[in-house]
């Protein structure tokens, strides 16, 4: 608690997290989903629609470091890493990962409270060779970095 105050979080921000936290304690997951899950963006079937649902058109920003393999042998398991240099791009509150040619391009979206490094590692499915996007939201603006990943075996399995 002291660390979060030291970071200069506003009273409202602190209140918000407290509310979310107590709600989460009462009903894990469900309530958070209602609060913040970007349903429209998840439901979008085209990259542009998914981006539009997230906010404005993102600008390319060098502060975002997006790591994906150049060639993924197995599209079902493609390791990705998104790292944001907080000096170059401060106040990032959300990071989303999109895969251009997937049936639903938005793969995952992460809410990041102050005090958490903007550093996310996970694995996603990539249906076919295409461009992957890491989109970061800071002060209401969207920034992105993209990488092409070649897939030799599709991610849809069976």
């Amino acid at each position: 608690m002291t660390t979060i105050h030291a970071k200069g979080i506003s009273r409202r921000g602190w209140l918000r997290w407290t509310v979310i936290l107590s709600a989460a304690a009462a009903l894990p997951g469900r309530v958070w989903a209602a609060v913040a899950r970007p349903e429209a963006a998840f439901g979008a079937t085209a990259l542009d629609d998914a981006l539009a649902a997230l906010g404005d058109t993102p600008q390319v920003h060098e502060g975002i470091q997006f790591t994906t393999p150049d060639i993924a042998e197995n599209g079902a398991v493609v390791p990705i890493r998104v790292e944001v240099d907080s000096q170059a791009l401060p106040n990032v509150s959300k990071v989303s990962v999109l895969v251009e040619m997937n049936p639903n391009p938005l793969a995952a979206s992460f809410d990041i409270p102050p005090g958490t490094e903007v550093y996310i590692e996970t694995r996603v499915k990539v249906a076919q060779t295409c461009t992957l996007y890491a989109v970061a939201e800071a002060d209401g603006q969207l920034y992105m970095q993209s990488r092409e990943t070649k897939v030799t075996l599709g991610g849809c399995g069976g």
Partner: protein, 103 residues
């Protein structure tokens, strides 16, 4: 159906690195079984990481996250012995939880 989570939290300088491995099929709902019947969608929709009582990350996931998902995050602070907890829920109402201490 409560899934277990393999989780590790390690102090790295002035921050803590959390790595979690969840067991989950992460079915997209677009695949068919051998009889040609569609396999219903079954995937984790929400995943949260807590340091003690404080949320350090919340993820919203689609079906495009790989089966048996891996998640790595870093947060500032954290002392050896502190509790780190990862909680998930899926689209069929299933939940999973894992807890560890920072070392």
């Amino acid at each position: 159906m409560a899934g277990r989570i393999k989780i590790r939290a390690q102090k790295k300088g002035d921050m803590t690195e959390v790595k979690a491995l969840m067991r989950h099929p992460m079915e997209t709902g677009m695949r068919k079984d051998q009889a040609g019947d569609p396999i219903p969608a079954h995937f984790i929709t929400e995943v949260s990481v807590f340091h003690g009582d404080q949320p350090v990350m919340q993820g919203h996931w689609g079906a495009a996250v790989s089966a048996n998902p891996f998640l790595g995050v870093r947060f500032a602070g954290g002392e050896a012995g502190d509790t780190v907890r990862v909680v998930w829920t899926d689209n069929q109402g299933g939940t999973g939880e894992g807890e560890t201490t920072i070392r």
